[in-house]
Amino acid sequence: MKTKNLTCIVCPLGCELTVTLDGKTVVEVSGNTCPRGKQYAIDECTAPTRTLTSTVRLADSEEMLPVKTASPIPKEALMPAMAALQDVVAHAPVAIGDVVLKNVAATGVDIIATKNVK
């Protein structure tokens, strides 16, 4: 058995979590104030994920279009996902939630717009 200290990133509260591990199996989580903290600790020790936020080009505009992954993706897929966004060009009109790129970096997760453009 060993313990690991983590900072929960689910919300701005930033709880200090202590995880007790038996090999790769999470035995106990303490320090969390909500169930999402426990889930975060388990995920972080087994398969860490992150929501990626970035931008893509918007045709005929001086401004970029902000986007995000529709759900968290594996941490190691962050850079491949960024590379995949390089060549994406979105076209107005765009609404929040519109899919800008399907199945980014073979994660099964779509990239969606986070801004409305008329």
């Binding site: 983590l6 900072t7 929960c8 990133i9 689910v10 919300c11 701005p12 930033g14 200090e16 992150r50 929501t51 990626l52 936020t53 970035s54 931008t55 080009r57 001086e62 401004e63 970029m64 902000p66 995000k68 941490k75 962050l78 850079m79 960024m82 929040i96 986070t114 801004k115 409305n116």
Partner: protein
Amino acid sequence: MKQVDLVIIGGGPAGMAAAVAARENGLEDILIIERDNALGGILRQCIHNGFGLHRFGEELTGPEYAARYETEVEALGIPYLLNTIVTAITPDRVVTAMNSEDGVFSVQAKAIVLAMGCRERSRGALNIPGNRPAGVYSAGAAQKFVNMKGYLPGRKVVILGSGDIGLIMARRMTLEGAEVQAVCEVMPYSGGLQRNIQQCLKDFDIPLYLSHTVTEIHGKERVTGVTVSKVDEQRRPVAGSEMYFACNTLLLSVGLIPENELTKGADIPLDPITGGALVDESRQTATEGIFACGNVLHVHDLVDYVSEEAALAGKAAADYVLAGAAGDSPRRVIAAGAVRYTVPQTIRRTDKDVTVYFRVGSPCTAATVRVTCGDVELLKKKKPKMAPGEMESVTLKADKLIACSGDITVSVEV
């Protein structure tokens, strides 16, 4: 002169939330004046997530959070002017503004909500020796370049200051292909949220140097490197501790200052600690009919709290226009012990519960928060951990406030 019941200066999260609350409380005649080319304020460039957990119960990005309020402003048909800058306000609530279509014009308002937000502390405030090469940006300016314009301001980066904007930009520049070599923080602790230290620095193995600052900027035309030194308890550089980082960009994330030039111009008294106006529990300044909310009042860590505060100010402004002045003579709220400041700084009405927000001056553990009025203890609670970067609050019950008189002291003892 044009007459408007309520003029709101600034169309960011505070201005929009104040406008929506004022309309929902029965006020028809409202005008938002925004200097940028769209509503949304700084949220437009804050493309990262983490907004809205308190307000909407879900995690949104900055543009998504702003869009929620923009949609409400549009649905309620609240008028707003874009590309319009307010140049002066007077204590009797004349607002002078200008834009390229109408030129200079004045509006007589029955009430004003100040929602101008804050700006970044600049290099000039830091006294870093060296030339004035290109490549020194405030973190927010770099954020605008990257997130809105699609330009990367540099490829090898050092960041001074570990506030949230500095941390967020460390991650953002890294994702966009820049090499962030270090984040330096003059204080022995980070002013940013713990989650941002994890997901913006540790995730990308970016080192955080606490009690370190930039003591020289090298380069003539463009930054070529920076010297970073350790500092002692008085924040003085320690000789012999210098480290050299080759880089072409230095980002500064060294604090935010409420933007109160208009407020000062109207002789509205400011709190020297917050840099914002002195306000009562309704967020009315010492000048009747002029209210303030959001980062122009005090710098918030979460936009959710900005919206909450702005709704309070918007409602109070509507009540003021529709029902006239209310409240007794002000009772002061005094910050004591480890408490650095409180907002509000005065309480006038005691018929409702009042939430007092405060910050501590340095990190505290096993602290006791006490609120007293003379010999009467209004509230006492224990807090295992408090940090200057995280705003705290206490809610004072109306029945307890009515039962006592005189100044109220909020203290933190460790």
